[in-house]
């Protein structure tokens, strides 16, 4: 999986997720702590067998089946069965030497030497070479490249910008030492490098080498007969619907135990039924709202993990300066008073939200680094717990008083205060959730209104909060969610020069901490923890945004499956998956 994808989370274009209990699971609460991320094996595994993987989506997958080109999670799901990166990582998302290649960093931490294992071969039998790895860099940096991968990670490679702009014929920072050895020099050494800062996906040069770069993504070699070096080979594809794989006998970790894997798209509406009937062994993600009613399914075991994501509410505190390419914080913004922001945080009962809407499978968030990064998440920081009385007090003290006695507070000058709230449409709870927040704020005397009286459609929402730098001046606060990259560095979201810093908040202190977090000093994990602990506190004090919910991922797996795990760094790989019988068990 690609590295630090801090994408907007879950209210996004295509995510189905959601809600709460039903008649059966009424009032029941669950906790992520009760779930394991590794499947317990029961019974004797059989020889071979097949496995069906359900890709939950109400749309077709796009079919750009190459790590160097794909965009969108569904394609990644398809890819992972037949291709992989050269490096793997541990539970803290630090590269290990267990993967298809091993790495060694230089003293200054800028130059990395990679050695590809000898038995790593493409599905057509050609060896995976250093040349292929280089080729991947070259293609992504090519100006005709039409994928989304030319990001700051890659730009960190020495000479790649020159290559991109056509000033150089080669990327000076990459050196093919021998067939299986590659050396890459990076411009800056940061701790982020070893937590996902390296491009680890080679591109088969013997296949794509002669192809014009702009044609690769639509070529049959990407779309119809994609190639990789993963545990399975693509046998056939029904575009957008399903893929069948057969085992890759030549897989470098050893031949997979399964003979065959089928991946098919299943509509979120039919997930439970498909699982019950044993039409699929597992799915990529299970709609949480359907869990309580189906918690007791006899034929599956639910695996669970903490999602690398959090929901939050952000305050618009400035604008984006297009010229300077940095945020311009406005001290006179409507939400500029930190007390107001803090009070709003205290006013909402996120634990209740998590319990009621999500049966405890989401819970109140405290800081901006979720527990999915146990090393950096500051457990001691309580955030701002639900305390409406305190919220009222803060508001009172800060001068937000109800002057005219209508139960609604006016601003410090005694003028009417109406806060416009932008919230994105998405799953079923989106609207009640937004309504809940509004009601909660009203309970402490703040008048908050939905922008335009309704939820914003995905595109309008992001345009409004300023993804292109044009902030909608009518938005005062907004609700959104972020996925956290495997590297914790939050500067892409909260840095002064980050366009995605939608709050447009900045401070010197923040600048300093973010810089320190990726400085050389931060190579020391303890030091880095310290820095981020301080940053989490800063954000709790300043409240440019406040986190609302952390979330869990649930995945049901059929009882016949062995050696299955979700999440990262489990040390379990797809070639080890086994089944105990021909067909998945069906619900009794």
């Amino acid at each position: 999986k690609t590295d630090s994808d801090a994408k907007p989370k879950d209210e996004g274009k295509k995510t189905e997720e959601g809600k709460k209990e039903n008649a059966k699971g009424e009032e029941q609460l669950y906790s992520i702590d009760d779930f394991s991320n590794i499947k317990t094996n029961e019974g004797e595994a059989m020889e071979g067998g097949s496995f069906t993987f359900g890709l939950v989506s109400d749309t077709a997958f796009q079919g750009t089946l190459n790590f160097n080109f794909y965009s969108g999670d569904p394609d990644a799901q398809v890819l992972e069965w037949f291709d992989e990166g050269m490096l793997t990582w541990d539970e803290n998302y630090v590269y290990t030497n267990d993967g298809a290649a091993t790495y060694e960093a230089s003293e200054d931490g800028k130059t990395f030497t990679f050695k590809i294992r000898d038995n790593v071969n493409w599905h057509d039998g050609e060896p995976v070479t250093a040349e292929d790895w280089l080729f991947a860099h070259e293609v992504i940096a090519n100006k005709d490249y039409d994928g989304p991968r030319f990001d700051s990670t890659l730009r960190n490679v020495v000479g790649i910008e020159d290559y991109h702009e056509g000033k150089a014929d080669t990327i000076s920072g990459i050196e093919v030492v021998d067939e299986k050895t590659l050396k890459i020099t990076y411009i800056e050494a940061t701790p982020s490098l070893i937590t996902g800062g390296i491009w680890t996906y080679p591109l088969a040069k013997h296949i794509f080498g002669d192809m014009p770069v702009k044609d690769i993504s639509s070529s049959p070699e990407v779309r119809e007969n994609p190639i990789g070096f993963g545990p399975f080979k693509v046998e056939s594809i029904v575009p957008g619907e399903s893929v069948t794989y057969t085992k890759n006998e030549d897989y470098w970790r050893g031949a997979p135990k399964l003979d065959k894997v089928t991946l098919k798209v299943i509509n979120p509406n039919v997930v439970v039924q498909s699982l019950k009937k044993g039409e699929v062994d597992t799915v990529d993600k299970f709609p949480v709202d359907q869990f309580p009613a189906n918690a007791e399914l006899s034929n599956v075991e639910y695996l669970g993990a903490i999602d690398r994501a959090y929901s939050y509410i952000g305050f618009k505190l400035g604008t984006w300066d297009k010229k300077a390419k940095e945020v311009k914080t406005d001290p006179n913004a409507k939400m500029a008073d930190v007390n107001l922001r803090k009070a709003m945080w205290h006013a909402v009962d996120n634990n209740a939200v998590g319990d009621r809407f999500y049966h405890g499978l989401r819970w109140a968030a405290t800081t901006l680094i979720p527990a999915s990064h146990p090393e950096y998440h500051d457990e001691s920081n309580p955030g701002a717990p639900y305390d409406p009385e305190k919220a009222k007090q803060i508001l009172e003290d800060a001068g937000y008083k109800d002057v005219d006695g209508d139960g609604i507070r006016e601003d410090k000058e005694g003028n009417e205060l109406v806060i416009n709230f932008a919230s994105m449409s998405g799953d079923e709870v989106a609207e009640p959730l937004a309504k809940y927040y509004i009601q909660a704020w009203e309970a402490v005397g703040l008048k908050v209104e939905l922008l335009d009286g309704r939820l914003q459609e995905f595109n309008s929402f992001y345009e409004g909060v300023g993804e292109k730098g044009d902030d909608n001046p009518n938005i005062d606060i907004y609700a959104a969610a972020w996925g956290v990259g495997i590297d914790v560095d939050p500067s892409g979201l909260y840095g002064r020069d980050a366009i995605y810093n939608f709050t447009r908040w900045s401070s010197e202190e923040n600048d300093r901490l973010l810089a320190e977090g990726i400085s050389e000093a931060a190579f020391d994990p303890e030091k880095r923890k310290e820095i981020y602990k301080e940053w989490q506190q800063l954000m709790t004090d300043e409240v440019p945004v406040f986190p609302t919910l952390y979330r869990s991922v649930l995945v049901p797996v059929n009882n016949r499956v062995h050696n299955y795990a979700i999440g990262d760094g489990t040390g379990m790989y797809k070639n080890e998956i086994e089944v105990t019988q021909e067909e998945p068990l069906a619900e009794k």
């Binding site: 809600k19 009613a293 009621r356 595109n459």
Partner: protein, 302 residues
């Protein structure tokens, strides 16, 4: 002997020689028990729904209550609650009112536009008709859904009125077509020619002579359209382009059934609304069909 001319021109309905049009419509409905019951039902629903929603606290209905999510029906919540802990019964009342309002509004607006368009096109014929028909053809091929989506995105406040306007923009063609073809037939009748020789102006003829003669067909079509429009609103809500939840409609309630859990276990959310849609549409349709029979002398029941 007295049969030929009128029928040649217009053999599908035979109002010309019937007793007064309105009375026939009424008589036919009263005679058809099912239609009569349907009519009573519709009237009751309308009176009830508009009446109750006057007293009902609408803000209350859409207030989210974290602690009563998905409650099954009880004495407190007659029809249980939805995923926001909101009372389904209240939503059903307000939703029915909203859906009806939209249905009626759209039906009226499409009626006015369609009738005007069809009348002018059919009455003047020739080049005007040609141009009008091309315009109509064009509207027929417009991507309804896409335009609804666009409007949903760019119209800031999505109200019953603006929603109805959008729907209207795409639904007037059917009635326009019908009125046009009926006008084409009607204008050939001698009474129209007579009016011309008597010095009446074209518009006067169109609206005071021709239009009343289309009234029964208009009533019938509009009644049937009303049913269809209510259905359409729910379809759009289902696809997610209806109203925000703060403006409940029957369609919104039904669309909650998209959630398989709701569909299977929480019948109280979507089933009453679905049944109401079904029964309302059946009733309106019954009345419409009875009216249709009334305008078609040969199918009249008495």
């Amino acid at each position: 002997m007295e049969t030929n001319n009128v029928q040649l021109l217009d053999n599908s309905h035979d109002t010309n020689r019937s007793p007064s049009g309105w009375r026939i419509l009424w008589r036919e409905i009263v005679r058809d028990k099912l239609a009569f019951i349907s009519l009573i039902f519709i009237i009751l629903v309308v009176v009830f729904v508009y009446g109750i929603s006057l007293i009902l606290d609408q803000k209350e209905i859409v207030t989210v209550d974290l602690f009563s999510i998905h409650k099954p029906p009880s004495s407190e919540f007659w029809l249980g609650t939805d995923h926001g802990g909101r009372d389904v019964f209240g939503q059903l009342i307000v939703g029915t009112r909203n859906s009806l309002s939209i249905g009626i509004l759209v039906t009226l607006m499409t009626g006015v536009i369609g009738i005007g368009f069809g009348l002018v096109s059919g009455y003047f014929g020739g080049t005007i008709d040609n141009i009008f028909m091309r315009i109509l053809d064009f509207f027929m091929i417009l991507p309804f859904l896409m335009i609804v989506i666009v409007f949903a995105a760019i119209v800031p406040k999505y109200s019953i009125l603006s929603f109805s306007l959008i729907m209207t923009a795409f639904l007037w063609m059917g009635i326009a077509r019908l009125i046009r073809s009926k006008t084409l037939q009607e204008k050939e009748l001698d009474y129209v020619q007579a009016s011309k020789t008597l010095g009446s102006s074209e518009f006067k003829i169109m609206f005071t002579q021709v239009l009343p003669n289309l009234s029964s067909i208009i009533i019938v079509t509009m009644t049937l359209n009303l049913a269809a429009n209510i259905g359409l609103e729910s379809g759009l809500s289902f696809l997610g382009f209806g109203f925000p939840e703060s403006t409940p409609s029957l369609g919104t309630l039904v669309s909650y059934a998209r959630n398989p859990q709701t569909l299977e276990f929480r019948w109280w959310i979507w089933l009453p609304a679905s049944m109401l849609i079904l029964i309302l549409m059946l009733s309106i349709n019954n009345v419409g069909q009875a009216l249709k029979r009334a305008t078609d002398a040969r199918q009249r029941r008495g």
